[in-house]
């Protein structure tokens, strides 16, 4: 089976490719990249005027399967990912049961093989049941196929356990992803503490709640000499702390999410629960700092934190509403519209943040168009303008604060192992 992608603008920072080229895929593998490739027969995709990128890699999403299939399952989650141009996604372990043992890891991998549209990589829990008490069987998680460990959604309260998690996991060379939130000071808050929480009479979460934990984890990483990855960074000081740590040579990496460079806490006004997320949407100066961090390389990658929730969990009192928003189907266009179009990042830099660096973190062989690699390819029109319509989402959940946003950047094709699962913007 041959697929030829003709005439597209191929961007692959890993191989320093940036120009009009053809890509030949044979039996799911990239076999040739060059000018004017011809094939006698096979599937020809005409990509003139479009950009051909490595399939996007998401280091942080929630597929809700097992346990919360009413929000999302592996089938719908991977459909949504494919529509957004993602070909490899790593799902967080806060399922029910928690993904803290090899049985659940295998369940996810097997179900993804059966029902999944894209490559799915489970992330195991750091602690059993994400309770923050005892370490999970991290070695077994790794050998079952987990690509990282995290207690995402729940911070690891005990500094001692965090230190042990870093030390122990280093044996297995598996990434540790930390959700940074000091719960004492967050104290049941429901949005960023600041002007808008004052205005609405909602309990605020101080930015310090995130920053204290970022500082702690940097210190533990430096002390143990084990890398740590900070999830969903959202504040100016967090970014500054990471910048400083990197200068000291600490092996810290971090991600942010599109909502942290697009929205501010004001989005919660009118008690809009769609804008309720953890960490909460911050302020203008934080958004500027996130963009600056992306530009200067302090922030290594953009993750979606795709967090599907049922309407019944959002259409309630603000205090009771679930945290999070779906992200697969808006992440790339938001990045193009808010980072590439204004000139903060080149498209090549964006590919580093959405393909190369997440692959490196997870230790998976993805995020590049090298010859010999499996053909995970995303073809986009970065100029095409469209209006976000949640009713078009393939995700089971529609909890997006971006409905009605006018964005640039449409995903035309998503190829996984050489199979076009999205073709001319339609999921097959």
């Amino acid at each position: 089976m041959r697929v030829l992608i003709k005439g597209g603008h191929v961007i692959d920072p890993k191989t320093n490719t940036n120009g009009i080229m053809d890509i030949l895929v044979e039996d799911g593998i990239i076999t040739e990249i060059g000018k004017d490739i011809e094939i006698p027969n096979g599937d020809i995709i005409y990509a003139e005027g479009k950009m051909v990128l490595p399939g996007l890699v998401d280091a942080h999403c929630h597929l809700r399967d097992p346990g919360f299939e009413y929000k999302e399952d592996i089938e719908t989650g991977t459909m949504s990912a494919a529509m957004g141009g993602f070909t490899s996604i790593a799902c967080m372990p806060n399922t029910d049961p928690v993904c803290d043992n090899e049985a659940i890891v295998k369940y996810i991998i097997n179900k993804a093989k059966q029902d999944g549209f894209v490559n799915v990589y489970p992330i195991g829990a750091i602690s059993k049941g994400q309770k923050g008490e005892e370490l999970s069987e991290i070695g077994e998680l790794k050998f079952a196929g987990a690509v990282a460990i995290s207690d995402d959604g729940k911070p690891l309260k005990s500094s001692s356990l965090m230190k042990k998690a870093l030390e122990y996991s280093s044996m297995f060379d598996i990434a540790v992803i930390s959700h940074c939130e000091e719960m004492d000071i967050a104290d049941g808050g429901v949005m960023n503490e600041g002007y808008w929480s004052t205005i609405m009479g909602l309990k605020g979460i101080p930015s310090a709640a995130e920053e204290i934990m970022v500082a702690r984890d940097i210190i533990l990483s430096e002390y143990t000499k084990v890398p740590v990855h900070i999830a969903h960074v959202s504040t100016e000081l967090s970014i500054d702390l990471i910048r400083h740590a990197k200068k000291r040579g600490v092996k810290v990496t971090c991600e942010t999410c599109p909502h942290y460079f697009v929205l501010i806490d004001e989005a919660c006004s009118g008690f809009n629960t769609l804008a309720k997320v953890n960490p909460p949407l911050r302020t203008k100066k934080d958004v500027e700092a996130v963009i600056e961090g992306l530009k200067d390389g302090t922030i290594d990658m953009i993750a979606t934190d795709h967090a599907p929730h049922h309407n019944d969990e959002k259409n309630v009192e603000f205090n009771l509403a679930a945290n999070g928003m779906v992200g697969f189907e808006t992440a790339l266009p938001l990045a193009i519209t808010y980072l590439v179009k204004p000139g903060h990042l080149t498209i090549s830099q964006l590919v580093e943040k959405m393909c190369v660096n997440p692959s490196k973190l997870l230790g998976i062989n993805k995020g590049t168009l090298e010859i010999g690699r499996s053909a995970d390819i995303t073809i986009i029109d970065i100029n095409e303008e469209f209006v976000v319509d949640i009713n078009n989402f393939k995700s089971k959940s529609k909890n997006s604060p971006f409905n009605g946003f006018k964005l640039n950047g449409s995903v035309y094709y998503t190829l996984v192992n050489g199979n076009a699962i999205v073709r001319e913007k339609i999921l097959l």
Partner: protein, 312 residues
């Protein structure tokens, strides 16, 4: 004129004109309230439901009497706060009440924004009778009514609000309402009980009660909740009272004819000494009467938003 919205969710959303309209209507209602035969047919055929998820004596009774004085059918529902998370959802409860023909649902809830959620999901008018730390618009309306009755207008008046501003929906509603009507609002309280960036609402924030009181025309004490002490927000009632209590000596900093208000219930000897509560300057009892008049006005205006008739 008519009120723009079917609901009264907060004073943040009202125009100065709408506030004046409500307060002027309340003047007429007060005449009715003080007459011997406290019964008018204005709400005949209307059904008014109070839905309270928090305990309340005065606000609830005030609404209930306002409804009854105007011949509405009134009913009360109390839901224990503890069952909010596990029981029937607010929207389902609200829709049930709506379907039984309610014209107005008066909601008190421990969570900010609950009335907004209810209002979006029912046809009935929703009146916010206090939501979390957000707003308590009818309390602020009655406070403003009381002040205007004595001073003629809020324009240019200096108002000092003292106490736990952070948790106070009364303070928030008064800040919105009074600044809209041209008052200059100052607040003072322990710095742990002042919400961040409050100055951006246009009020002056002080850390000493003395600074806020200088030349004040109106002084409003807020109730201090004992449980805040356990959360470490201030060390003791004793220290609170020592630094923020509104005693006679401090009140001398205010204008001689300054009015004293308090939304009640008062912790005597904490926010205010009994001698101040019971003094001539104190309008605390007057506030209660005016509360009924203001609520009568609101119920009247909201139930005939579609007609041009006016009681004035």
């Amino acid at each position: 004129m008519a009120l723009k919205s079917k609901d009264l969710l907060g004073l943040k959303d009202l125009t100065a004109e709408e506030i004046h309209y409500i307060l002027n209507t309340a003047k007429t209602m007060k005449v009715i309230l003080l007459s011997k035969n406290k019964k008018t047919p204005h709400l005949q055929g209307k059904s008014i439901i109070t839905l309270f998820y928090e305990n309340s004596t005065r606000t609830r009774l005030s609404f209930e009497l306002a409804s009854k004085y105007m011949s509405a059918s009134a009913a009360n529902i109390s839901v224990a706060s503890s069952s909010v998370a596990k029981g029937e959802t607010l929207i389902d409860t609200g829709k049930t009440i709506d379907m039984m023909g309610a014209d107005v649902i008066i909601l008190r809830h421990s969570m900010s924004g609950a009335p907004h959620l209810l209002a979006r999901n029912v046809n009935a008018s929703v009146i916010n009778a206090g939501d979390g730390m957000n707003e308590h618009p009818t309390q602020a309306l009655l406070d403003m009514f009381t002040i205007i009755e004595k001073k003629g207008s809020l324009e240019g008046l200096k108002v000092a609000i003292i106490g736990d501003i952070y948790h106070s929906r009364v303070a928030r509603s008064n800040i919105w309402g009074m600044t809209k009507l041209g008052a200059e609002v100052s607040v003072a309280g322990p710095s742990t009980l002042i919400p961040p960036e409050l100055e951006r609402t246009g009020v002056k924030v002080f850390n000493t009660v003395q600074e806020a009181l200088i030349d004040a025309d109106v002084v409003m004490g807020l109730r201090i909740q004992l449980e805040r002490q356990k959360k470490g927000l201030f060390p003791s009632i004793r220290e609170y009272s020592r630094f923020f209590g509104l005693d006679e000596k401090r009140l001398k900093l205010a204008k001689e004819d300054a009015l004293i208000l308090h939304p009640g219930p008062v912790n005597r000897g904490v926010e205010l000494p009994s001698s101040v509560v019971d003094s001539d300057k104190s309008l605390i009892n007057e506030q209660v009467t005016n509360g009924v008049a203001v609520r009568m006005a609101l119920l009247y205006l909201l139930t005939r938003r579609d007609s041009d008739e006016s009681i004035n």
